[in-house]
């Protein structure tokens, strides 16, 4: 089986602030792992380390069998990344944005054209392809952003709040597409604070609180472990235990 994501004792310090204090988790191929936590918990830092954008202060990370610090280009070829804070180039159309990133991922014109058509079919990009980003609704922008991450058929997907601003149809399309990705053996790290969504798509979850992973396990196990009717309640109780 192809490797997914391996995180062991991951530490990240920003000067005096400890953003991640030795977290461990893994995401297997064909699995969706939801990393859950409030703002400032360390989700974005974890994703940035996995994408090779920032360096860890300690611990070990492997993404698709490669080390993001030593082999960042290998990792980035195998990785699709959507972050909540990401934006698009205002004066380009949706198609131009996708073509731009597609070329940076090494796709030739034919492959690019075919792939954009496929993504249009999956995410109903439609009018967004011919519209300049500055004239798009936030939902249209988000569709293009998400499609951008799938352009090069990455083995690993890091999705940070990917459904933010999506309309109900686009959101459904994305969540359904995750099932296809799982069947194809892709490893998906899904970061969100919308817990019902995580409950629907995730095989396993990790509760991240103030840089510590306070729980890792299957969704049903989490509900049982914290005697909670929903994942949201389980998360609140898990954080409550730590605070106590």
């Amino acid at each position: 089986m192809e490797p997914g994501i391996e995180v062991r004792g991951l530490i990240k310090r920003y000067r005096k602030t400890l953003a991640l204090s030795g977290i461990d988790f893994s995401v297997a191929p064909g699995e969706v792992f939801a990393l859950l936590g409030p703002n400032g918990a360390g989700k974005t830092t974890t994703l940035r380390i996995l994408a090779g954008l920032i360096k860890p202060s300690g611990g070990h990370v492997r993404v698709a069998g490669a080390d993001p610090v030593r082999e960042p280009m290998v990792v980035r070829h195998r990785l699709g990344y959507v972050s909540g804070g990401m934006g698009l180039y205002e004066r380009l159309t949706g198609e131009e944005v996708l073509s731009y990133f597609g070329r940076l991922y090494g796709l030739d014109d034919r492959a690019l054209h075919q792939r954009i058509a496929e993504l249009d079919a999956i995410f109903s990009l439609g009018r967004a392809l011919a519209t300049r980003v500055e004239e798009m609704s936030s939902g249209m922008k988000q569709k293009v952003l998400v499609a951008r991450a799938f352009l090069h058929r990455p083995r690993i997907l890091l999705l940070d709040e990917p459904t933010q601003a999506l309309d109900v149809f686009a959101r459904r399309a994305l969540l359904d597409h995750l099932e296809t990705l799982k069947r194809d053996g892709r490893a998906v790290l899904y970061s969100t604070h919308v817990l019902p969504e995580a409950e629907e798509v995730a095989d396993r979850v990790g509760f991240l609180h103030r840089g510590r992973l306070v729980y890792v396990g299957r969704v049903e196990e989490a509900k049982t472990r914290f005697s909670a009717p929903t994942l949201e309640h389980a998360f609140i109780r898990a954080v409550g235990e730590v605070e106590a």
């Binding site: 954008l53 804070g85 070329r103």
Partner: protein
């Protein structure tokens, strides 16, 4: 297709679609430079000529008859006043003239009226000087002497500068100064957009997560900014030359004498262009370094203003003393100052091979050093994700 070229093409497409930036950086310099550079000169000339033709009112007291007649003949209206100084101060006359104890005193609102007052003073002075020469000549003739004894020889000055340097005087200072300004201004919209702008919009993270090496990212961005800088500079210099041509058509003699006449050979144009591009590479790299450090577009604009002042002001100030400075290899090797003096030398047809080697060699080295600093800045996560 190389990744750096994909990035550069995208940045340039973005720039060319920004109509406001295109208008400001490329079109306006061509249109406004002639206006700003030569319209004031021509206007001042027209106003001065008008003032010379106009009949001004002079408050006078105690003047000899001969001087009164001469002043009236010089298109000046004389108004007897007991206190000419007060009359001028209160605006009842354009100038005042008093003859007391063998000397003439001219009153004018020099500081207040500037050139207008100076024209009146000059008219009065010319009449008095002519009167003085006439009196001296009369006295010499009465003493049996030829008035020409006062001028035993004549003095004339011949300009033996090469034809290309003749008449270029003021432009030799203005062209390099505006070149520095246009380079700094021209690249600004692109630099701000590709650094702090990308950070602010969240596109930088999406770009950095692609499998493209940092050198390609940086080079692509730098190339786009460089193209914008060169376009803006070419447009500005074209505007300057166009203005010179237009003004020469209106008044060639006066403008050539004032140093506003510029004729560039293809070789000189190429030398100015290469020097400009090398300086632009240096300036753009520094702008990229500061741009990526900024947390926001606004913060980046602040850094750019400081950088602009640091780079342009010293060179512009040195331009005022350029005629007195001995331009040697040491001076030409100083960043910013070197290219400034080198272009001055090129336009005056004084540049030699050593000058070319030192200026271009040192400029290329500084550009590489600045690019390396920009690379270090881009490779630091605490800089790139500083928001």
């Amino acid at each position: 297709m190389s990744a750096w070229w994909v990035i550069a093409k995208k940045e340039l497409a973005t720039f060319f679609r920004d109509r406001r930036a295109l208008l400001n950086q490329v079109l306006l310099p061509v249109l406004l430079m002639p206006l700003f550079m030569f319209a004031p000169t021509l206007l001042v000339e027209q106003l001065s000529q008008g003032a010379v033709q106009k009949v001004q009112k002079i408050a006078v007291a105690g003047l000899p008859q001969a001087v009164t007649r001469a002043l009236a003949a010089a298109r000046l209206q004389l108004v007897p006043e007991p206190d000419p100084a007060t009359a001028v101060r209160e605006g009842r006359a354009d100038a005042g003239l008093v003859f007391v104890s063998g000397s003439y005193r001219v009153y004018a609102r020099v500081s207040q009226d500037g050139l207008k007052a100076q024209v009146v003073v000059d008219k009065v002075r010319q009449v008095l000087e002519a009167q003085k020469r006439e009196m001296v000549a009369r006295t010499l003739r009465q003493a049996g002497l030829d008035p020409s004894v006062l001028e035993p020889f004549a003095v004339s000055v011949e300009d033996v500068s090469p034809p290309s340097a003749k008449g270029v005087g003021f432009l030799a200072f203005l062209v390099p100064m505006f070149l520095l300004i246009f380079v700094m201004n021209g690249s600004l919209p692109v630099v701000l957009d590709v650094t702090a702008g990308e950070k602010e919009k969240g596109t930088l993270e999406a770009l950095l997560v692609t499998p493209v090496g940092l050198p390609s990212v940086l080079f692509g961005k730098m190339f786009a900014a460089l193209v914008a800088a060169v376009m803006s500079t070419a447009s500005g210099v074209a505007g300057l030359i166009l203005g010179a041509r237009l003004a020469a058509g209106l008044d060639s003699g006066g403008l050539q004498a004032a140093g506003f006449s510029l004729s560039l050979t293809p070789g000189m144009l190429l030398a100015v262009l290469v020097t400009g591009v090398l300086f632009a590479a240096f300036a753009v790299s520094l702008q990229l370094m500061f741009g990526i450090f900024a947390r926001s577009y606004k913060e980046a604009q602040g850094y750019m203003s400081v950088l602009y002042l640091l780079l342009v002001l010293p060179a512009a100030m040195l331009g005022f003393v350029s005629g007195f400075v001995e331009v040697g290899p040491g001076l030409l090797a100083i960043p910013v100052v070197g290219p400034f003096f080198f272009i001055d030398q090129v336009l005056r047809a004084k540049a030699d091979l050593l000058g070319y080697a030192v200026t271009w060699g040192s400029s290329a080295l500084y550009a590489l050093a600045a690019l390396f600093l920009a690379y270090l800045s881009f490779s630091r996560e605490e800089v790139v994700f500083r928001n």
